[in-house]
């Protein structure tokens, strides 16, 4: 798989649906958006890659926001790309105000891709939380194409926070989608690493690769499980990003290195966002 060089283009909003999730026994909702853009060009986009997005012509906020591709559909001479975002601050609020037909500053496709070859003759476990699920849907499609048995472990605060859950069920089958919610409204109550560990104990002799994307705490918990069961894991990381193309060096992550300090800083945007967990100096 080769990566094309990134393009800075004006895309057009095809869909921007907002929805909310209110966990049981909480009165605070989380708000999400499902964004579909049309890029006026055929693009090769690989699983795990991301784009930098901003409403066109808006300079508050100033910087674009990194968003992982959820799904990609190629058309003749154009490409439809989908994203799932959580409305957290100024950037995502601004994205949420976009209407169908609005122009969008689009820079993509950026970053590396998962090592899908690593699962040849192995099982794949996808461990995701929150909007992190967006970053593994195309990976799941790729793994299926390759014939790799693939199972999803998806976690969130509540049923409504299991983003893309129905699409994953359709793709992988309900029996391969294991969920956990903090309020118990879907799947088992608690964190998704609990059913993940149970699965690993029951399938101790099966060679496995973990792919994970989600909040920091979840990635750390997943890395710990990977260590305990000596399973390689690929983690899709986040970092504050000003550019997404390697020129600001703002998105540093410490990676193990043979030197006095034991690590160097690499860039999440161009060296990542995907890293093997044993590379990381956590």
């Amino acid at each position: 798989m080769s990566t094309e060089c990134p393009r800075d283009l004006i895309a057009t909003v095809e869909r921007n649906d907002l929805f909310a999730s209110t966990p049981q026994s909480q009165n605070k909702s989380r708000h999400y958006g499902f964004l579909q853009l049309r890029i006026p060009q055929a693009q090769t986009i690989l699983p795990g890659q991301f784009a930098m997005l901003k409403k066109h012509g808006i300079y508050e906020p100033l910087l674009r926001r990194a968003m992982a591709y959820y799904r990609v559909t190629r058309h003749d001479g154009s490409t439809s790309v989908e994203f799932i975002y959580q409305i957290l601050g100024r950037g995502t609020e601004s994205l949420s105000t976009m209407r169908v037909g609005d122009p969008v500053d689009y820079l993509g496709a950026l970053g590396n891709t998962y090592d899908v070859q690593a699962t040849k003759d192995k099982n794949a476990l996808l461990v995701v939380g929150g909007v992190g699920s967006a970053a593994v849907f195309m990976l799941a499609e790729e793994l299926l194409k390759q014939g790799t048995p693939t199972r999803l472990f998806i976690g969130g605060a509540s049923r409504g926070d299991l983003l893309g859950y129905d699409d994953f069920v359709e793709l992988l089958g309900k029996e391969n989608c294991i969920s956990a919610t903090v309020d118990g409204s879907e799947g088992e109550r608690g964190f998704v690493t609990t059913p993940l560990e149970r699965h690993l104990q029951a399938n101790a002799n099966k060679p496995t690769v973990i792919y994970s994307c989600g909040p920091d705490a979840m990635l750390h918990a997943t890395a710990k499980v990977a260590d305990k069961y000596q399973i390689p894991a690929q983690l899709s990381l986040e970092a504050p990003m000003a550019c997404g193309i390697g020129i600001c060096v703002g998105c540093a992550v410490a990676v193990k290195h043979d030197c006095a300090e034991g690590f160097v800083y690499k860039k999440v945007c161009t060296d990542g966002p995907i890293f093997w967990h044993e590379e990381l100096h956590w």
Binding site: C5, P6, D8, K54, Y59, E60, P61, L62, L63, R64, R90, G91, D105, L107, A239, P240, A242, C243, I245, G246, I247, C248, V249, G250, C251, A252, V253, A254, E261, V264, Y265
Partner: protein, 307 residues
């Protein structure tokens, strides 16, 4: 009709630039990082990421935070070192028609001189830009840029070590920028770049912690533009050497404001992050402005502010 090249070619610090538009240090990597997104052959100049004699690892995350109209960074001058730049980046970079100006820093005068010595071996370098906003660790850690004597001392030392024009980049975090500008001019600087970032801070009200690991950092972007225009204006009245304007430039109008205040060249920094083709648009826009105003060269506009 005059060509864009006739309208925009301009001399500064003894170097002829195809146009007055460059990318600011720390916002374009080593230039090559932008080659897929802009036409490096069209760009006036690349001011590289700050280079030191030895590679630097940089600060612990978080290194950046967006603020209103700008961002604060504390990258910690992470760089590959002058030697690796000469060996691995320069050979490819000099294939392009752009002017190559390594930005150089150190934590003592010896470190500046050492970095220059390494870069002197590099072919295709047109000038050096000194970032003097670093603390001088041998003199109590005060920034070179904040003290006229130290700023002059480092300028003179590098001037001696260099066969190429030396541009000194000033900090806005001083009481009297004209005083520093004069001291650096007297010490032999061929041009001045201004401004570097303004020191800033941002606090998360929920955790009550600073939003970047280093506590304070450099504010850049449109938020600092009026400060930068003022610095260029004051320096233009204080010195005879040419000036390079930097600070929040994102559009042709921004660039023109700096040129009218007294800048011969301009650099685009933070705008590269949110609009990678800003430099290309500004180059076209400046040529268009010259035609519209019947100027036969952009240099006619330099310092024409009526104040």
């Amino acid at each position: 009709m005059m060509t864009d090249s006739q309208l925009l070619t301009i001399e500064c610090a003894g170097v002829t630039f195809p146009n007055p538009v460059g990318t600011a240090s720390g916002t374009c990597g080593y230039g090559l990082d932008l080659k897929d997104l802009i036409d490096l052959n069209k760009l006036g100049a690349v001011f590289t990421k700050g280079l030191s004699a030895k590679p630097m690892r940089g600060n612990a995350p978080w290194r950046i935070v967006e603020t209103h109209g700008g961002m604060i960074n504390a990258i910690g001058l992470q760089n590959i070192g002058a030697k690796t730049f000469v060996a691995e980046k320069l050979p490819e970079l000099r294939q392009y028609a752009t002017r190559i100006i390594p930005n150089v820093f150190g934590y003592s005068i010896d470190e500046y001189s050492e970095a220059i010595r390494i870069l002197e071996d590099g072919e295709g370098i047109h000038a050096y830009e000194l970032n003097i906003s670093c603390p001088n660790v041998k003199e109590g850690g005060k920034s070179f840029a904040n003290d006229a004597c130290q700023a002059a001392e480092v300028t003179a030392a590098v001037r001696k070590a260099s066969s190429r024009p030396v541009i000194v980049k000033l900090s806005p975090n001083v009481t009297d920028i004209a005083e520093i500008a004069r001291a650096v001019e007297d010490a032999g600087a061929d041009a001045l770049s201004l401004i570097n970032t303004a020191i800033g801070m941002s606090i998360d009200i929920h955790t009550r912690k600073p939003r970047i690991g280093n506590v304070t950092g450099g504010l850049s972007g449109p938020a600092i533009k009026p400060i930068a225009v003022r610095c260029v204006f004051q320096a233009y009245r204080a010195v005879k050497i040419p000036l390079i304007g930097i600070g929040g430039i994102a559009t042709t109008e921004d660039a023109l404001e700096f040129i009218i205040a007294g800048a011969r060249l301009i650099q685009v920094g933070t705008a590269n992050f949110y609009d990678p083709s800003a430099t290309m648009k500004i180059i076209d826009g400046l040529a268009e402005y010259c035609r519209e105003k019947n100027l036969n060269n952009i240099s006619k506009l330099v310092g024409t502010v009526e104040a």
